[in-house]
Structure formats: structure tokens, C-alpha cells
Amino acid sequence: MSATGIGAPVRRKEDQRFVTGQGRYVDDFNRPGQAYAYFLRSPHAHAAIRSIDVSQAKAMPGVLAVFTGDDLAADRIGGLICGWMIHSKDGTPMKAGPHPALAQGKVRYVGDHVAVVIAETLAQAKDAAEAIAVDYDVLPAVVDTAQATKASVQVHDVSPDNTVFNWHLGNKDETDAAFARAKHVTKIDLINNRLVPNPIEPRAALGEYDPGTDNYTLYTTSQNPHVARLVLSAFIGVAPEHKLRVIAPDVGGGFGSKIFIYAEETVCVWAAKKVKRPVKWTSDRSEAFLSDAHGRDHVTHAEMATDENGKIIGLKVHTIANLGAYLSTFSSSVPTYLYAPLLSGQYDIPAIYCEVDGVYTNTAPVDAYRGAGRPEATFVIERLVEKTARELGQDPAEFRRKNYITQFPHATPVIMTYDTGDYAASLDKALELADYRNFQARKQDSARRGKLRGIGFSSYIEACGIAPSQAVGSLGAGVGLWESAEVRVNPTGSVEVLTGSHSHGQGHETTFAQLVSDRLGIPIDQVSIVHGDTDKVQFGMGTYGSRSGAVGMSAIAKALDKVIAKGKKVAAHVLEASEGDVEFKDGRFGIAGTDRSLAFGEVALQAYIAHKFSGQELEPGLKEGAFYDPTNFTFPAGVHICEVEIDPETGVAKIERWTAVDDFGVIINPMIVEGQVHGGIAQGVGQALLEGAVYDQNGQLVTASFNDYCMPRAIDLPSFQVGMTVTPCPSNPLGIKGCGEAGAIAAPPAVINAITDALGHEDIAMPATPQAIWRAAQKARMPMAAE
């Protein structure tokens, strides 16, 4: 391993600009003549709009224009789309209601877009927005996930009972049969709490139109600028694809919430042409709370069947998934194909049946948030496994071990074929790092101090590297999920890699360069990674679902192979040898068995000056592209162990230890991988202990700022002990599985399993706030009184 190659903890190339304040985020861009957009948002969760009077607003100082949904419709601007078609059990397609960028006739959640003001200054735009007179006919709202289908309120005409789909996966008859012969059945009711993603950079969009060339430019906080361009052009119709340049510069975190194509960027591009000025919108945090796509929000009943030997023989799951007021870009895939296929966990479960009811409510749209479906699945299976072990009186670690899948490949009853893994190895290492054998002594020590100590396991699996395009296409995806790369070798031997992946914290400028340095044997500072600009980079699918290593880098590896192959042809001419005798090793093209060789840079120069070969023999230049379509999902897996100490007097749970042992396959940069694990755990701990989006019965978001929505702070978290095991992924050329979401997937059940262990009963929901734990601890103390 070289100091900058695969496996080295290379310090990040991008950090120089970030630590000196030279990063360039969307709001840092300003264009000449720029005007500001401010969106008037619905104060009501559900209302018919009788009329909108913008005349007074239009006359306000500095106002350039005020637009409503009628203006968009007049320009034939289409609605926002959901790109994954889900079919219900009965074969009918999901019921997708219209999703106009600016409301037409009705608003469906607090924060829904009613009108936009474009003005010289943001303050003027806000002043004018207050002068827009909207006559609302306020309607009752449906908010509660579990009650959505029973409500008399109808969010969309297309769905009379607010059901988007009744979907299922697995085999019902086999599962029923397994339960019929079960020795023991464990039941659980779970709520997977709604979360607000809250990347620290709020969303932003800056649209620009050049009447001379008829070209549009959009600077936007996107994880996938090409997908944004495709949707804005082909589906929404704001500009032709080849006339629209989408730039996603430095982006301050995404966690899924910046995958989607929202109303604001749509309107900014369109309005830039209407007012003949660049139009900028920057979300403030209050707007972000209301209008960024939220995550999770499931209500689930699940049952696990075990036989007389303590082997799991069946799993039944029924989930109601709240999709909010509109179907966001990928929302329908999250509680279906990103959820149920993971319900087998790391366990050999012969029969699984899962039903999911997707429902509309008068709340913000719900879509992918770090983990996207997989945390929800892991919460179900890991809570059930823990509870089953307790009911059977078995050690939760050993109960898991007994049920682990040990033979690969392993086909689960829910689509997936796990390719490789060694779950017991991760468990063993985690038990060791967590000092599990001395836990009881620590628990007794806590008890002496009047504290309750608990330990909780999470033996998670996820499916990353999404995904084989043909497979996802058959499941309803509207796009392919390959990735692209182009490797441009310059005459001086330096290299630019144009990648369809997008980095918004993941460190691609470093890890991708490590791969290039490793493969081509050139210094890492000779490599530039170019991403986030549709004018520079070929079409690519972007970054989400922990796919940029497994899919994005595989595309780069494929292109690098082509570069080396072409380099061999060039070297053969220069060295006057046959191509078959040229080998590439340690950055040099050489003739086997001789000392004749050329450095990579020399071959690059020869490729461009083209003096040693004719045009009939070989094309000049050294630039290769590749598209990589994965052949399977990847299956990162691991074991997280959380140890908490609860103060029963106040209900405060302090995480005393966190052990994570993950198998991500081959690791490019362990420093960056561990950082991804840390961040994921923090978000998972946030879900388990601190975070929860709460709407009141009228559909007002109660947790609409950091004053009420509790973000994890440094003081809320411990340092994490992170270990790795490695089984290389067999399905991609680099052996990478992906690491971006593991922590967020693994953490919530680990925390709740630890708390329930400490309490001695299962009755606590997320977020387990001090109040909730205090109340649960009262119940633990007085089991009789509570009856």
C-alpha cells in the first residue's frame, strides 16, 4: 500500500478550502443583476384557495414580479414528479395526486408553496409577500399516520381513502404456515419517528437565463445535478435538457434531502427568464423545517416466529408509511423496495411476508433520509430479535449468532441475494471491543450508584451500491442506476476524472484520486476530480444510497482500465514492441523481461504528440469513458453495541460506550470511512434519543426550529469505538460495499435495545427523551402498580 493509494488514510484534498473559508456553496454565488425570490407558504395544513390577490404586492417597492400557480400553468410548466412507480397488491398503479410547484386551487401542508415574489432585495420580497391576500377556505387536516386511511379528510381526489398503495412482498402462505407451527411468537408495535434531515447548509437555488444563447443555468444544492436537469427538462419542462446547465458546487451535507427536485429550484429557473434577471432563493432554517422532505414516519406491527430450537422460522410485518401531502421524487421506493427486502436482516429466515400501506397526510412530503427504508427495516428486525431473545431467556448476542446466515450466496424470501459476509466475525470482534464479558460488573456498579445500565445490540445489514438498472427497472424505477466516469489524461501526465457522483462531505476528491493514484502510479496531487456541473461532466446519476464507492468508483476503475489498455498500445509503438509484450506496473509501461520502460507521463505525452504512430494505426489522445452498471446490490453489515446508563430520577440516558464493527468490504480510506460511521451513528442516536418531528392535530409543525427539534450536540454523544472486518464484495471490481449510511441504520435499535435492557421492559418509543424514559422507569419500578 502506498502512502496515497487504496487503503491509506490520506488527508483530504478538499479541506484546504474548507478550513480557510474558501469553500463555494450556492449561497456564496452572486450573479450580476441578481434578484431575490421569497415564497409565500401556506399557514394552513389543508385549505382550498378561493382567490389570490397579488395586486397590492406587485405595487410594492422593489418588486419585479409576483407569480402564482396560474402563471406556471400558463407557461405549461408541469408538476413535480415521483420517479418510482409502485403497484399495489391488486396490480393497480399507485395513486399519485398532482404536485404543482406553486399551488393550484388547494394547499395540502403547512409550508406548501402558494406564490413567489421576485424583488430587488430579500426584505422587499418578504414585505410584498405579506401583502398578498389569499382567501383560504380552511379544511380539516389529516395528520396521524395510523389514522390516515380512516379519516374523513381527503388529501387528493385521486385517493379517496388517502391510500397511495397497498403493497406487499414475500410469501404470505408460507409465512402463515411457519407461524402455525411456531413454538413461540414474539409481537411488537413500533413507531419509526419522523425526522427532519437538517443538513447544516439549507437548500438554495440560483437561476439564470441568457437571452443571447437561450441558455439557462441553475446553481443548486443537489446531490445529483444531472438527475435534476433531466427532471427539470423532460418532466417539468422549464428548459430543454441541452440548454440547461445545472451546477451543484460545494454542498453542505445532503443526507438524502438534496436528492429531490423541489418547487424552489423549478421556480427560480423559470422565473429568471420571466423577469430577465438572475433569481436567487436561499432557504432559511424555518423554511427548511417546513419544506425539506422529511424522513421515516412508519407505524408497524411485526411478529416473529421461532421453533423449539430457538430458530427464527417466520416474520410478518405490516407497516403504514406516511408519505406526506405529495409524492416526492423517490418517496414511493423508500418504504417499499428500500425497506422490505432488508427485513431478513443477517438472519436465515425461511418465510417472510410484509405489507406496506403508503398514505397521504397533510404533512410535508416524506422521502429518503440517510438509510432510506433500511433503518426502518433494521429497527423492526433488530427490536424483534432482541425481544425474542429476551422472551426465550437467551443471550441476545448468542441468539443472533444462532440465527445468522453462514452460507453465501444466500437468497432471502424478500428478493435479495446476499453475496458474501461473515456476521459472526463482526459479532466476535464487537463483543471483544465492547468488553461484553464484564458488562454485568458495570451494571452492578451503576446500580450501586442508583443508576440503570443496559446494553443493546444491532446486527444490521443494508443493501447499497444501488443498483442493477435492469433489476430496479423491473421494480418500478424510472431511471437506471449505473454511474459514469471519464478519465482525461493530459499531455503532461496529470489526470482529470469527471464523475457522475457528487461529493457533499464524502471526500470524493480524495478517495477517487487515491484510486487513480493507485492504478496509474502517479502522485495524488496530479489528479483532479471534477463533479457537480452538467456542462463539464457527462450524464451521471449522483450520490445517495452509499453508492459512490461501489458504483461511482467502479466506473472510474473501468475507465482507468481502458486508459491503461490504450497506454499499452501507445507504449508498444514508442518502445517498438508488440502490444502483447507491454505490461503496466508501478506507473510504468515496460517490456516484460527487459529494462525498457516508459513512465505513465511519457506515454501520455506520446499519445498526444502522436509522432510514433500513424492515424491509421492508432487514434491520438488518452481519454476514456465508462458506464458501470452494477450486477448486484452490495451488502454492508456489522454489529453495533450501545451501552447506556440511565438516571431514573431525571430520565436522562447517557451513552457510556459505543462499539461499531462494520464490514464494508475493501476500504479506500479508513479515515474517511470511520468518519462516515461516526456521522451515521450520531444521526441514529439523534433519532433514538433526541429528534422527532411533531405535528399537532391541525397540521402545524410544532418542532419547527432548533429550539424544539433537538439536534445532536457534541455533549450528547460519546467517542465511538470503530472496528472493521473485511469480506470483499464480489460483484464490483474494487470489492467495495459502501459505508455512508451504516451508522444511521445500525444505531436506533442498538440504543433502544440498550434502554429497554436497562428498564427491564419494552415499552418505550423513539425518541426516548428524558421525559419518556423517566416515565418508563416509573413503570419499571412499580410493575404491580401499573397493572
Binding site: 483530504r12 478550513v19 443538513p199 447548509e201 453542505g252 470511520e674 456521522g679 429550539n707 457534541a714
Partner: protein
């Protein structure tokens, strides 16, 4: 409009501003010092932390006119010459950042912690003192390590006279 004069990163600046201009807006919009970020509107996230008269403040909750006659140091003014400030170097070395958005505020807060609490900082102190800075990427693990290392390094490196 009200006139404000202040020293920003060692440079004297005078401008006429609408009194409602926040210090962060003045820095970003008037001076184009876009390293100072805005991450919330309730004075909590700390992405906007700068030093005003030697103290860490949230520049989203200070009017530019309140900073009149004051001295401001932003992330752009932290290092002298081409070298990184030891705290900046520590964040890079210990992977104390991912997306980079909270980073300027984090680093300005970290330097302030060292100024107040010294060069030998334990984990608990660092975590408690980071109360006013939110990071969504790192889980704080490496930020804590970076602050501890940066604090040590600040004690070892003779610092040039800071801009403030």
C-alpha cells in the same frame, strides 16, 4: 442608513448600511467574506461564529451597527500568510470536517475555547464548550480530537499577532 466603521481581518472598513443589516450579512454581502455561513435563524447552529473584539459571537445575532468601532476576525483572517492556523491544520489532520459548512464556525469557536480554557483540554470540556455549534456530518468524534490537538498545537506554535 447608518455608517459603520470596523476592522475586519486587519483591514479598516467603512460602509453605510441599513440598520437591520446583521453582522453576518455585512461580512458576506458587503465584504464578500463568504466563509462565514448561516445555518439557522434561531441563533443556535454556530455556523456564523466570528470573533468580535476577541470574543466568539454568533454574527447572525449581532447587528453590523452594534459592531461599530469593533474588531472582527473571520475564518478568512485566522491564518497569517500562507500557513494554516494550528486549529485549521488540526481539523484537516484529524478529519474534523466533512461537508465543510459548519467548519468555519467550529474552528472560530475552537480557537475561542483555547483562548479561554487553555491548551490542555479534556474531552468533556471540549464537548461542553461546543454547545453552540451544530455539525450534522461528523458525529463530533473527530471534531473533538481536532480541537484537543489544535489546542496543544496552539500552545507549541508561537503565534503571529492575531488580526484582532
Amino acid at each position: 442608513m447608518t455608517t459603520v466603521s470596523l476592522t475586519v481581518n486587519g483591514q479598516s472598513v467603512t460602509a453605510d448600511v441599513d440598520p437591520r443589516t446583521l453582522l453576518v450579512q455585512f461580512l458576506r454581502d458587503n465584504l464578500r467574506l463568504t466563509g462565514t455561513h448561516v445555518g439557522c435563524d434561531t441563533s443556535q447552529c454556530g455556523a456564523c461564529v466570528v470573533h468580535l473584539n476577541g470574543q466568539a459571537v454568533k454574527s447572525c445575532t449581532v447587528l453590523a451597527v452594534q459592531a461599530d468601532a469593533g474588531t472582527v476576525t473571520t475564518i478568512e483572517g485566522l491564518s497569517q500568510g500562507g500557513d494554516l492556523h494550528p486549529m485549521q491544520a488540526a481539523f484537516r489532520e484529524h478529519h474534523g470536517l466533512q461537508c465543510g459548512y459548519c467548519t468555519p464556525g467550529m474552528i472560530m469557536s475552537a480557537v475561542d475555547i483555547v483562548n479561554r480554557k487553555g491548551h490542555s483540554l479534556d474531552e468533556e470540556t471540549i464537548r461542553a464548550e461546543l454547545e453552540g455549534n451544530l455539525c450534522r456530518c461528523t458525529g463530533y468524534h473527530n471534531i473533538v480530537k481536532a480541537v484537543a490537538a489544535g489546542a496543544q498545537a496552539m500552545g507549541q506554535t508561537p503565534l503571529p499577532q492575531a488580526a484582532e
